[in-house]
């Protein structure tokens, strides 16, 4: 039974979808209950999977392999089978992200209580989205990865377009088009890889590309080909991450979608970009990745600075957060470019911690928006006096975001920069400017809202956060602090996996 664990985990949201189909659409209470319980289910499964996971082992665990599709091709040199397996499993990296996904999704399901209309279809789409995300992180071959990857695209399109603010449709469209381009590039790269190497499974691909150069030539896997594929893959994930010139869609989504969606989007979906870069870039093409490290580092720094600068001048809280996401994702790139243990660990940490922090902040902004009908900075001020809890949480989140020691943000930034300083000190030094800027814009926004002058007299925010609102916020904050104080929780999980990545890099 335990061998089916991951499958059960991935497809557990389907059960909720089935139940939801039979719930009448006007029965709000049942819908909400089903939604929350439905999101709890994968979380429980994920924790179970975690307990079954042996952190000391480096390889992929909880594996399941079934023959799926076979293409028979008759060629001049005989019959050739291209087969695709249903192959899932998890190593440390996957496990962390699966846990993160289940956790944030659960909280997001609570955060979506503020949705008043079309709740039924919301939850249905939500669970399909969760299925896709869980699948993405546990897929062990390219095909499956791509299927799940695209599977997140469609529900997300609906979720953005149907639930959210005024310009949500536009946001949905730009989400679709940009991510469409990304996945298009990805698909071509994957198929080319498949046709040339004859396999789609990660481990087999790794083995193939570890072959001597002469053998690779024979399979037409020339250096140019490998480089081309790597660049294509990186470009595809760069859209997702997003890397600077390709980031506009993400701003729109963050500004227009419903907070619960943005929690998921910023907390998990963006992480697919980072995950993909680590998994495919580093995992399969370590050599080629090395030669691109300089470029990636520069891109990371650009991201960091650009995001920070623009966040400084935003008047909308959501925009501030959106740019801060751009900026923080730069840190992931920086960590990756370092290509050493610290760097990569930093990148992964950043992935997780930004997931938690941005989820928290977006959730809070959503809460405020519900009270005030706006998220413009100048509409707020003196929040601490009327909504102390909310103000406190906001402050805590802001501090986590700027990297206060003791919170998760600090560890990741610290490690990423530590890694980069080891190899590219100049670039890293430029990057640190971004950290300072971060502190400035976060404090400007957060302090302005919590303690600043009330811009307009008689502003009434209404009641402080309800229990349903407090729960997710406190859970997230707790997670942030726990990781910040006890990073070994992650690094222990990650250690063995990092080891294998390092092996691929040649020590």
């Amino acid at each position: 039974m335990s061998s089916m664990l991951l499958t059960l985990l991935i497809f557990s949201p389907l059960l909720s979808v089935l139940i939801l189909l039979f719930v009448p659409s006007d029965d709000e209470k049942t819908l909400k209950m089903t939604g929350v319980l439905g999101a709890l289910l994968p979380l429980i499964a994920a924790v179970t999977a975690f307990t079954a996971f042996d952190t000391a082992e480096s390889g992929v665990q909880l594996e399941e392999v079934y023959q799926w599709i076979t293409y028979e091709v008759f060629q001049a040199n005989g019959e050739l089978n291209y087969s695709i397996q249903y192959h899932i499993g998890a190593d440390g990296l996957s496990m962390i992200l699966i846990l993160l996904t289940a956790f944030i999704a659960f909280l997001a399901s609570i955060a979506s209580f503020s949705i008043k209309e079309k709740l039924k279809s919301f939850y249905i789409l939500f669970f399909i989205l969760e299925l896709g995300m869980l699948g993405v992180f546990s897929a062990q071959n390219l095909f499956l990865f791509f299927v799940f990857f695209e599977l997140t695209l469609v529900p997300m399109f609906f979720l953005i377009g149907r639930y959210g603010y005024l310009n949500r449709e536009k946001a949905a469209w730009s989400f679709l088009i940009y991510n469409g381009i990304g996945s298009a590039i990805l698909l071509i790269a994957f198929v080319a890889l498949f046709m040339k190497s004859g396999s789609m499974a990660f481990d087999q691909l790794k083995a193939v590309f570890a072959l001597p150069e002469a053998d690779l030539k024979e399979m037409y896997l020339t250096e140019n080909f490998r480089m081309g594929i790597l660049i294509a893959i990186l470009a595809a994930f760069a859209v997702k991450l997003p890397v600077v010139p390709l980031h506009t869609w993400m701003l729109r989504v963050h500004a227009e979608a419903h907070p619960a969606i943005v929690m998921i989007h910023s907390g998990i979906l963006l992480k697919i970009g980072a995950y993909g870069m680590i998994r495919f870039g580093l995992g399969i093409f370590p050599e080629e990745f090395k030669s691109l490290a300089g470029v990636i580092a520069v891109l990371g720094v650009v991201n960091l600075l650009y995001g920070a600068f623009l966040a400084l001048s935003q008047s909308d809280m959501k925009k501030v957060l959106a740019y801060s996401s751009v900026s923080h994702m730069g840190i992931v790139l920086i960590g990756l470019a370092a290509l050493n243990e610290y760097g990569i660990q930093g990148a992964v940490f950043q992935t997780v911690s930004h997931g938690l922090i941005s989820a928290l902040l977006f959730f809070l902004v959503g809460v405020l928006y519900n009270r005030r009908g706006s998220s413009q900075l100048h509409d707020f001020g003196g929040l601490a006096s009327q909504m102390p809890v909310a103000a406190g949480l906001l402050l805590a989140g802001g501090l986590a975001s700027l990297g206060l020691p003791g919170m998760s943000g600090f560890i990741s930034e610290f490690m990423a920069f530590l890694g980069l300083f080891e190899v590219m000190p100049v670039t890293a030094a430029v990057g640190t400017i971004g950290l300072i800027l971060t502190a400035v814009y976060v404090l400007r926004a957060v302090l302005g809202v919590t303690f600043g002058r009330v811009k307009r007299e008689g502003t009434v925010y209404g009641a402080d956060m309800t229990a349903a609102e407090r729960f997710p916020a406190f859970m997230l904050l707790a997670a942030i602090i726990i990781i910040g104080c006890y990073p070994a929780l992650l690094s222990g999980l990650l250690g063995a996996t990092l080891e294998s990545i390092k092996l691929g890099l040649g020590g």
Partner: protein
């Protein structure tokens, strides 16, 4: 051909064709002698039964060895069986669509509709299992002539007539061009039997006339590309689709297109497989750039054309042009994959496109308009219909977990498999897929994001349409998740030698 030889033929293998022919004849006689005001519904059931019986015969023949009778003009091999299954499946579904077509004009000419439909189907089936230029041509024309009339069957509608006339003219020109090419093939070889043609084409003396052979290739290829509405001859499609009643449109875009690909495979591949082009290179390799241009042009024109359509039938016309472009891609794959890829894609195309047409028919009838705005707010009016339509549109757009994706994935494999891979073509195809997102998702957006539409009243779905919708939706999803069901069926039986070798004489 004496009496004994004729009696010795295994006529049983023609059972599917005889069934269709018999039913068509029977229906035409019955229709003549039925009273003017008698309902023509029994004819529908008979036609459906006929198609089902023919389908049963095809399945019963699956184990039959390759047999060819009538001096190889009729040939039963797996290729023909596999494609006949597609044709009959498509035919069956379209007939079900027609069961609900309540337009007054069509009612009046119902009888004609049924038996012309069957004769068209018969023509397509003859094409699927003939290996002689004359029978191929006769089958093609049987299909074409019947379709011309079908397109104009609402003879009191000016649009229907106009579309039929345009169809006749462009079809006639295409036929003439094809025939002109065929006449040169006959001239070079003195044979009309395809296998004899192949044999004769290997004579060294023909190398001196390779120019003529290349000429013949282009003429036939261009002429035949009319049937599939590929680039130089796609302009008829929008007009004809718009003018014809929806069941006919569905027939043209699905069954007729399948038939077009059948003849392309049977005729072009078989005839020219061993032919030498100019300078003695293999002809099929030499002309590949042109096929690529054709495929690319078809995709581009189809997708860009669809972008600016407001009329939903025209939109689907352009979309089907684009789909034809995709299916042309495997022709450059240089391997036997071309059969399986085309077969599978056509199968997927049949279920998804007929499903979409079923929705269209319900909606256009309900709204009395062909404007794309009929989709407004469909989800709130009729969630099931909207969900089904979404599945079909997603499949047409090639989103994973749908049949369309499995098909497109295969096509990419075909394009990138050979060395060097056709990256440009794959890139164009991917880009065009993205363009297609715009119009497919635009419909989805209308259904889900907008409200309004025809007064918000609910839409009733006729039982037969419901059956089509359910079947197509299940098949679309099923083939998307488990494409191996269909692929294994194909691989289990398909033998490429059987297609290219002249075996199976039974005398």
């Amino acid at each position: 051909m004496d009496t004994d030889a004729l009696l010795s033929y295994n006529w049983a293998i023609m059972a599917p064709e005889f069934t269709i022919l018999g039913v068509a004849t029977l229906l035409s006689v019955l229709d003549l002698f039925m009273g003017k005001n008698t309902s023509r519904r029994p004819l529908l059931w008979m036609a459906l039964a006929g198609v089902a019986v023919a389908m049963a015969f095809v399945f019963a023949e699956l184990d039959t060895d390759v047999t060819s009778i009538l001096h190889d003009t009729y040939r039963l091999d797996f290729f023909s069986k596999a494609f006949k299954i597609l044709l009959l499946l498509g035919g069956f579904l379209v007939l079900l669509l027609a069961a609900d077509y309540r337009k007054k004009e069509l009612q009046e000419y119902r009888g004609e509709f049924y038996y012309l439909f069957l004769t068209a189907l018969l023509g397509a089936m003859i094409m699927a299992s003939s290996a002689d230029m004359i029978t191929l041509f006769v089958g093609l024309e049987l299909l074409s002539l019947s379709s011309y009339i079908l397109a104009g069957i609402r003879k009191k509608s000016g649009k229907s007539n106009e579309s039929a006339f345009k169809y006749v003219v462009s079809g006639g020109i295409a036929t003439a061009i094809t025939l002109f090419g065929m006449s040169y093939i006959f001239g070079l070889t003195g044979q009309t039997n395809l296998f004899d043609v192949v044999e004769t084409l290997q004579e060294p003396v023909l190398l001196e006339h390779s120019f003529l052979l290349v000429f013949a290739f282009f003429m036939t290829f261009i002429g035949l590309s009319f049937k599939i509405a590929a680039a130089p001859f796609h302009m008829w499609a929008p007009d004809v689709y718009e003018g014809a009643p929806i069941p006919v449109t569905a027939f043209l875009s699905v069954v007729s297109k399948t038939a077009g690909f059948i003849i392309l495979l049977r005729f072009i591949l078989l005839t020219f497989i061993a032919a030498a082009g100019i300078d003695r290179d293999p002809l099929l390799v030499q002309v590949q750039p042109y096929v690529i241009v054709l495929a690319a042009a078809t995709m581009i024109l189809g997708n860009l054309g669809a972008l600016r359509q407001r009329n939903i039938k025209r939109l689907f016309a352009y979309s089907s042009v684009a789909q034809a472009g995709y299916i042309l891609v495997p022709f450059v794959s240089n391997s036997t994959q071309v059969f399986e890829l085309i077969w599978f894609y056509l199968l997927a195309y049949i279920v998804m496109n007929i499903g979409a047409f079923a929705c269209l028919q319900t909606l256009t009838r309900d709204a009395g308009s062909n404007d794309v705005s009929i989709f407004r707010g469909l989800f709130s009016r009729s969630p099931w219909l909207a969900s089904a339509m979404t599945i079909f549109l997603l499949s047409l757009a090639g989103i994973p977990a749908t049949a369309g994706f499995a098909g497109k994935f295969g096509i990419f494999m075909g394009a990138l498999g050979p060395e060097p891979g056709h990256y440009v073509l794959a890139g164009i195809m991917m880009l065009m897929t993205l363009v297609s997102y715009v119009y497919y998702f635009n419909i989805i957006g209308l259904m889900f994001f907008r409200s309004g539409g025809t007064g918000g009243r609910r839409i009733s779905i006729a039982p037969s349409i419901g059956a089509v919708l359910v079947f197509c939706a299940i098949a679309t999803i099923g083939l998307g998740i488990m494409p191996n069901i269909a692929l294994d069926f194909f691989f289990g039986q398909f033998d490429v030698n059987e297609f290219f070798m002249n075996t199976g004489h039974n005398h």
